[in-house]
Structure formats: structure tokens, C-alpha cells
């Protein structure tokens, strides 16, 4: 929070706000040590038992006050500065909470604020108060000149004191602003939630949610595949079969009618082939059943190019990852056939510990650019959805190599 210089002039609103903030902190900063020290001012026990119980009592009081004090500090920041500092995770039973390491660390940070940083800030608040009061008094020292016995050099002394007072008045807002900044920063770091831990938890949470979303999409793809397989595809087969039967048996119908039957039959078969390709691209049953090797050999065989396929995945990987790897190879091969003009393709799928490495290399024309083709961009997106890495090396003139690394488990 860097304020413009005008905000730090002694008569500006910013200066008064900072001063108010810093001074309002001082009593709160003093509470803990006062609680520890105060009893000794009135009562000085000599028996060890009494000393220990008094110490214990002070400690308990401090521990009990840590949270309310922290809340008071945050309220102070909100009321004076309008700064909304995040509250630490709620803690119901102090003793039970101390069993968890996170809660212990939280308490440690809070004690650090109230017992160490707080008093220092309290000292700074006193300095701010002194700067204001002393500055004002010194600046007005000329007014007291009438009561002083006239002497040599008084005028010089008075002028010096006045200047010193003005300097203090100028310095006070800067001191207040600095203290305010330190306090806000200390409060955010020590009284709020542990940022690193919060982020860690948030990342874990998001990673879990994303894995759920990716799995859900995969599941949805399988459901669509099942539905199409059980529904439209069977109907089309039955339709094509009936048309085939009609074509074979209705030999004595007029020629135009016969031509229509023949056309319908051919159309039905073409539709079946198209639907089959579409459905197999969604999620082939053989993938869930036999794994990548079996599913990819089917894909490789459909490519009208010599494909060298090497699959070395001794232990099955997560089904969503399998689906992504399958999709990558299938799409990459489709791209090669469509755009590369290649003579041959090599596909390698190797499991290396926690990583599944997929490489599709062709000897085609090259020049593939993920930024331009929607196919490659879609692939990259799908790979990223499971935290994989995606790399295309495709200089103009070829060859092209697509390398994808996927984590074996989500």
C-alpha cells in the first residue's frame, strides 16, 4: 500500500488515519505482557508452588486471549483502514486443537505476534505519539519565550527548537505510515491463515475436482458409446439386413424400384461404417477390456500406411489416462494420413515408472503447428487435462514427431 506523498503531510487524512491506527493498536499490544507482569506488581509470593501456579495462570490467560485479541486487531484494521484481513481457520477447543501440527503452528504464529512483534509495534506507536506531541510542543516553543528570562542566543535556540519541532511533525506521518505498514503485514502473516498451507490445500482440492471432471467426461463418452452401440447401431444393422434381404428376394420388381432398394442398401451400409468409426473414436470397448496394446493395434491396422507399433505397458495405467493415450494416437494417425503425406509412421507407447510416454513419428512433409490446426490443439487440451506434457517437433519438410507424456495415475 504505497500512498502518494500528499497523504503523508501532517495535516492530510492519511496521516491522521495511520496515526489513529497505530495508536489504537498500542493498548492491545500491551495486554499480553501486562497480564504476565501485572500480578507481580501487587503480590510477590515466595513459595515455589505459588510462583508456578501464578505463571501457569498467566500463561492460560494469554492462551485464552490469543484469539479474541487477534480478532480485535483485525477489527481495528477494518474499522480504521478498511483492510479486510482473512481470519485464521476456526479453533474450538484449544487443547484438542494442539494435537494437530497445523493448529500448533497457527498458535505459534499468533503468540509470535502478540508477545514479540506486538510489543515492538507498541514501542513504535509510542514513538509516533512522542513525535506528534514533541513536535507540536517544540514547534510552539516560540510562544513560551515570554516566560523565559532573556538571554544571549535565545533567539537562535528558539529558532532551532521550532525547526526541530517542525521536522518531527513532518516525520511523524512517515513513522506512522511505516508502523502501519509493518503492522498490517505482520497481521496478515501471523494472525491470518497460513498462506502456503491454504494454497497447498486449494491446489489439492482443485486437482481433485479436475480429476473428477476429467473422469466424468470420460465416463460420459463411454455412456454415449454404449447408448449408440445398443441403440442406433443395432437398428441400422437390422435396417441394412432387411434391405439386403429385400435386395436378394425382390428380383421381379420393376427396375426403378430395384435401383432404389439397391441404393438404400448401400447407403445403410455406408452409414453403418461411418457410425462404427465415430463410435470407435469415442471409447473402444476393447480398450477397457484388453488395454492399450489391443486397442491401438486395431487403430494402427485401419491406417492405410505401414505403421510400426510398439506398446510396452506391463502394468495397466488409469483408465482415463489410457483413454487419453488412445485418443492421442488415434488423432495423430488421422492427422498423419490427412496432412503429412507420409510413407510410414512409428508409434511408441512406453510406460516408464509413473510416466506413460507416447510418441508418434512420421516421415511426412512436416510443418504441423498446434497453434493453427484445431486437431493438434484439441489433442494438447486433452493431454493437459490429465497434467500431461505435449510436444510437437515438425520443421517444414519434416519429419514430424509428436511426443506426449502422461502421468500413469491421476
Amino acid at each position: 500500500m504505497v500512498l502518494p506523498a500528499a497523504e503523508r503531510l501532517p495535516w492530510s487524512r492519511g496521516a491522521w488515519r495511520d496515526t489513529l491506527f497505530v495508536l489504537s493498536g498500542a493498548p492491545l499490544q500491551a495486554v499480553c505482557w501486562t497480564l504476565v507482569a501485572l500480578p507481580w506488581a501487587f503480590w510477590a509470593p515466595y513459595r515455589t508452588g505459588s510462583v508456578l501456579s501464578l505463571l501457569l495462570l498467566s500463561c492460560a490467560a494469554v492462551l485464552a486471549l490469543v484469539r479474541p485479541l487477534g480478532r480485535a486487531h483485525r477489527e481495528r484494521a477494518w474499522a480504521v483502514l478498511g483492510a479486510d484481513l482473512p481470519a485464521p481457520p476456526p479453533r474450538r477447543k484449544l487443547l484438542r486443537a494442539l494435537r494437530s501440527e497445523d493448529a500448533r503452528r497457527d498458535l505459534g504464529r499468533e503468540l509470535l505476534y502478540h508477545l514479540v512483534v506486538g510489543p515492538l509495534l507498541g514501542g513504535a506507536a509510542a514513538a509516533v505519539a512522542l513525535a506528534w506531541a514533541g513536535g507540536a510542543a517544540l514547534a510552539c516553543s516560540a510562544a513560551f519565550a515570554f516566560w523565559l528570562p532573556p538571554s544571549k542566543g535565545l533567539a537562535v535556540l528558539l529558532a532551532g527548537l521550532t525547526l526541530a519541532g517542525l521536522a518531527l511533525l513532518i516525520a511523524a506521518p512517515w513513522l506512522a505510515a511505516g508502523t502501519r505498514r509493518l503492522d498490517v503485514r505482520a497481521m496478515a502473516a501471523l494472525l491470518g491463515p497460513d498462506r502456503a498451507r491454504e494454497l497447498e490445500r486449494r491446489v489439492e482440492d482443485l486437482a481433485g475436482k479436475r480429476a473428477d471432471v476429467v473422469d466424468a467426461a470420460d465416463l460420459e463418452r463411454r455412456r454415449i458409446e454404449r447408448d449408440l452401440h445398443d441403440g442406433a447401431q443395432q437398428r441400422l444393422v437390422a435396417l441394412a439386413m432387411n434391405l439386403g434381404l429385400a435386395r436378394e428376394t425382390l428380383t421381379d420388381v420393376p427396375e426403378p424400384a430395384r435401383r432404389v432398394i439397391v441404393e438404400a442398401h448401400e447407403e445403410a451400409k455406408a452409414a453403418l461404417a461411418e457410425l462404427r468409426d465415430l463410435i470407435r473414436g469415442l471409447h473402444p470397448a476393447v480398450l477397457a477390456d484388453r488395454g492399450l496394446d489391443a486397442a491401438l493395434s486395431g487403430v494402427a491396422a485401419r491406417v492405410p500406411l505401414p505403421v510400426t507399433l510398439r506398446v510396452d505397458v506391463a502394468e495397466r495405467v488409469a483408465s482415463t489416462v489410457e483413454a487419453v493415450a488412445y485418443f492421442v494416437v488415434a488423432e495423430a494417425l488421422t492427422n498423419v494420413v490427412k496432412h503429412a503425406g507420409a510413407a510410414s509412421v512409428e508409434v511408441d507407447v512406453v510406460r516408464d515408472g509413473p510416466t506413460l510416454r507416447v510418441r508418434v513419428a512420421d516421415d511426412g512433409a512436416g510443418g504441423a503447428d498446434p497453434a493453427r490446426g484445431t486437431g493438434l490443439a484439441g489433442l494438447a487440451r486433452r493431454v493437459r487435462s490429465v497434467d500431461g506434457t505435449f510436444r510437437v517437433v515438425s520443421p517444414p519438410g519434416g519429419p514430424t514427431a509428436l511426443t506426449v507424456e502422461l502421468p500413469c495415475a491421476l
Binding site: Q234, A240, M241, L245, K269, R276, A285, R290, L309
Partner: protein, 215 residues
């Protein structure tokens, strides 16, 4: 000829029954899942079982597994598998144990009625019927070795052979004379170092053994 049908889609089951009965087959049982198929085969001892690969409860490869059980336990029952997709891996599983009385076709082939019925009869007679797509997959998969020495025409002939076609069938498909086909086949046998054998089945068996052994 007595046939058992296992197909979980009611629509397609009815269609198959109609098709087979029109063609003069006797459909003795039609069931919707693998357990029912095994029971029906045990009860009726049919000549042929027409089996969908993907059936309840798992909807993956129940048909393939049932086919292997049937071929093992009732060798006189031929099995024709039908599937929406043909997978080289399933074909390899099937052919690893049996190369006779077995067929594996895309469901689409049902639409070409007479070709489909031919395949049915061939399988029931102890022959083989592999979908052209399976054969293409198998050839590509094992394409590295001596198969690479074949000319494109010889490859085509080998694919048709592997589908289970006779010389006359191959000649018709490629629109060449039967003697030209015989010449190609001799060329294939020589290049693949296969001994000459009589009859369609032994020929297919030799081809499939080769495809399987070259993995």
C-alpha cells in the same frame, strides 16, 4: 442345419432369426447372454452358434470367451462371432486355439445376405470366415517379416485366402481367372516357405498358422 443365436439386441435377434429361417436354417434357440448360450448349446447340440461378441453382463468380450468354451467343450459345434468392431486381438485369441469351424465377422456383413450365408455355411462345415478387416489388421500387425516380400496382388490374394475363400471365390473377387489365382497362391507359398496342401481349409490353416506364428 440347426443353429443357436446369441444376441442381446432384441431387434437384431429377431432379424437374424428371420434371415436364417428364410435361408432354410433351423433356429433351435435364441438367447440374450453368454450363460444362456452355453446352456442352449449343451441342450440342443446345434451345428452352429451365431454369437454376438458384446453381451451382458460385462458388455465387453463375453462372446469371445463363450466361443472359446464352446469350441473346447463341444468341438462339433462351429461358432460364428459377430461384432460391431473387429479387433485383431480377439481374432488372435480365437485362432490361437482353433482354426477350424470358427468365424469372426463385422455385424455389417449381415447386410450382404448371400455372402453372409456363404460364410455361415463355410464355418458350419468346419471352415473359417474372417472379416476382411480382421485379416487386414492381422497382416499389418505381422507385416514385418517375409510378408513384406509379397507383391500387392499376392497380398490381396493372401487376404482373401485368410478370409476363407476358395480359388473360385478369389478369382471372382479379383476379377481374374482361377489359374491366375493358383499361380499367385503358388508364389505366396514359395515366398512364405509353406508346404503345398490340398483343400481350402488346410490352406487357410497354413496361412493363419503363419500369421499367428510370425508375431
Amino acid at each position: 442345419m440347426r443353429v443357436v443365436i446369441a444376441e442381446d439386441s432384441v431387434l437384431l435377434r429377431a432379424g437374424l432369426i428371420k434371415l436364417l429361417e428364410t435361408a432354410g436354417f433351423e433356429v433351435v434357440a435364441a438367447v440374450g447372454e453368454a450363460a444362456g448360450l452355453l446352456a442352449a448349446v449343451a441342450e440342443h447340440r446345434p451345428d452352429l452358434a451365431v454369437v454376438d461378441v458384446r453381451m451382458p453382463p460385462g458388455h465387453t468380450d463375453e462372446g469371445v470367451r463363450a466361443a472359446l468354451v464352446i469350441r473346447r467343450e463341444s468341438p462339433d459345434v462351429a461358432v460364428l462371432l459377430l461384432s460391431q468392431y473387429v479387433e485383431e486381438r480377439y481374432a488372435a485369441d480365437l485362432l490361437a486355439e482353433h482354426t477350424s469351424g470358427i468365424g469372426y465377422l463385422l455385424k455389417d456383413r449381415v447386410a450382404d445376405v448371400s455372402t453372409f450365408l456363404d460364410a455361415l455355411r463355410r464355418v458350419a462345415a468346419g471352415g473359417t470366415a474372417l472379416d476382411p478387416e480382421v485379416v487386414a489388421q492381422l497382416l499389418l500387425r505381422r507385416g514385418g517379416g517375409p510378408l513384406g516380400r509379397l507383391t500387392p496382388r499376392e497380398r490381396e490374394v493372401l487376404e482373401l485366402m485368410a478370409e476363407g475363400r476358395s480359388n473360385a471365390g478369389i478369382a471372382a473377387a479379383l476379377v481374374v481367372s482361377e489359374s491366375a489365382v493358383a499361380k499367385h497362391i503358388n508364389g505366396i507359398f514359395t515366398k512364405l516357405d509353406l508346404p503345398h496342401a490340398e483343400g481350402d481349409h488346410r490352406r487357410v490353416l497354413a496361412v493363419l498358422r503363419f500369421l499367428d506364428g510370425d508375431a
